[in-house]
Subunit: 225 residues, 2 copies
DNA sequence: CTAGGATCCAAACGTACGTTTGATTCAAAC
DNA sequence: GTTTGAATCAAACGTACGTTTGGATCCTAG
C-alpha cells in the first residue's frame, strides 16, 4: 500500500522512500536522522548515501515520487472542468480539480498517502517567504494553469482580487490538509477517523470557496494604509 | 522597536528574546542553535541556560511574550464587535477581531513583529496533528470564545458546518500570515513591500470570509464516502 | 565456473549541538 | 572596606548528526 509500484519487489530504495516519507511527516525533515530512517527501513546507514547521494537527494526523491502524479491528476481534472458551460458549475469544477486530489491523498486511506500531504504542508510553511526552489518549480506550471482558468471563468475580477482569492484558497486547502481535523475538535482532543468523509470535506471546502469566488469585487477604488 | 518594553535598559535577557524570535522565524526552532542566538545577541553561550533554564524555556518565553497581548487584543475587539446589531456588520466585526491583530502584527512594520507571526504559523504547521500543548492551551480560551460568538451570530448553522468554516477561516488567515504575499507574485519572484497595505489585505480577507460564512448550509442530509 | 558490477555492511571521521562547570566580574548592601 | 549575590565568561563534556571508507556479499552475464 505504501510503495508506489506494487509489481516490483520490495527494494531497499523503495523501503527508504517509504520510511523517509513517514518519518519526515512526523518529525520534520531536519528532525529525522538518517539513522532513524535506515533503522525503520531495515537498511544500512550508508544505503541512503549510496542510493540517493545524500540526505538532500533523498528529500528530493520523496517529493518527486508523489508530486508528479498529484499535479498530473489536477491538470487532467481541470481539463474536464473547463468543458462545462454553466459558470457556477465550471467554477466548482475548477476548485474541485485543485483541492480534490490533495485532500483525497490526505484523507483517503485506501488510495492516499496522508503523511505525504502532511509533509508537503509542513515543508511549505517552514519555508515561508522563500520556499524550496525545487518545490516551487514543480508547482509553477500547475498554479499558472489554474490562475488562467479562474481568470477566464471570472473575467470581471481585477488581478489583485484574483491573486488574493487564489491565495486564500491555497491557504484554506493547505491548512486543512496539514492539520487534518477541525480545530474545535483538536482542542477537545477527539480521535475521529475522517477518512470516510473525504468527499464531504471536499464539498464543504468547495462550497466555502465557491461562495467567495462568486462575490463581486468591491475594492476597485479603495486605498490601503 | 523590537524590545517589548522600551523603558527598561537593554538587558541580556531581552536581547536574547529578540534574537531568538528573529532567528527562530528564519531558520526554525530546531534549525537555530544557541550559539547563533547568543552570538547575534552579543551574549555568552551559557546565558540562555542561565536566564531561561534551557533552550525549551527560551522557546516558551519567546511565544509567551507576544501571545498574551495578541490574544488580549482579539478578545477586546470581539467585545466591541458583539455590541453591533446588524448581523452582517456583527459578523464582519467578529472576523476582523479574529484576523486583524494577527495580520497587523504580520504586515505593520511600525507596531508589528512580522517575524513572530511567521514563527507562529511555522510552528503550528510543524506540529500538524499534535501541536505543542503550551501553544494550544494559550489559544484554547480565545478560540472557544470566537466559536461561541459565531454560533450565536449564525444560530441556524449546524455544528459541523460551523466547525469546518472556522477551520477554513483559520487556514486562510494562518497561510496569509505565514507566506505573506500572494502566491502568484511569489512565483514571479517579485519583492513588493506589503506593509502599507495591511488594512487592504485585512479587508480582502474579511470580504472573502464573510461571504462564505453568510452562505446557507446545504449539507443537512448528505452522506460522506 | 568465473569475472565484475551492484549492493550491502560495520566502523570510523569530523562537525555541531545543548548543557554543565568553575572561575571571574561587578554593583549594591551592610 | 568587606560581603554577597547576580551576571558573565571561556572551556569542556557527552551526544548525535551526515558522510566516507574499504571490504564483504550477492547476482548476473559471459
Amino acid at each position: 500500500m505504501t510503495s508506489v509500484d506494487s509489481t516490483t519487489p520490495p527494494s531497499t530504495k523503495m523501503a527508504l522512500l517509504d520510511s523517509a516519507e513517514r518519518l519526515f511527516a512526523q518529525n520534520g525533515i531536519d528532525g529525522t536522522s538518517l539513522r532513524a530512517i535506515t533503522q525503520d527501513a531495515n537498511a544500512n546507514l550508508a544505503s541512503v548515501n549510496y542510493h540517493f547521494g545524500s540526505k538532500e537527494g533523498l528529500v528530493g526523491a520523496v517529493f518527486g515520487r508523489r508530486l508528479r502524479p498529484l499535479n498530473s491528476q489536477r491538470l487532467e481534472r481541470l481539463g474536464h472542468a473547463l468543458l462545462e458551460e454553466d459558470r457556477s458549475t465550471k467554477l466548482r469544477g475548477i476548485l474541485r480539480a485543485f483541492v480534490g486530489p490533495v485532500l483525497e491523498m490526505r484523507f483517503d486511506r485506501q488510495r492516499g498517502n496522508p503523511e505525504f500531504i502532511q509533509l508537503l504542508g509542513r515543508t511549505f510553511a517552514e519555508s515561508a517567504g522563500q520556499p524550496r526552489r525545487e518545490l516551487l518549480a514543480e508547482f509553477e506550471h500547475v498554479l499558472s494553469r489554474f490562475l488562467a482558468a479562474l481568470s477566464e471563468t471570472l473575467p470581471e475580477l481585477e488581478p489583485e482580487a484574483l491573486a488574493w482569492r487564489f491565495h486564500f484558497t491555497v491557504g484554506a486547502m493547505a491548512y486543512t490538509a496539514a492539520v487534518g481535523r477541525p480545530l474545535s475538535e483538536l482542542i477537545q482532543g477527539g480521535d475521529v477517523d475522517y477518512s470516510p468523509q473525504v468527499d464531504r470535506i471536499i464539498e464543504h471546502l468547495v462550497d466555502f470557496l465557491e461562495t467567495s469566488w462568486m462575490r463581486p469585487d468591491r475594492h476597485r477604488d479603495r486605498n490601503g494604509s
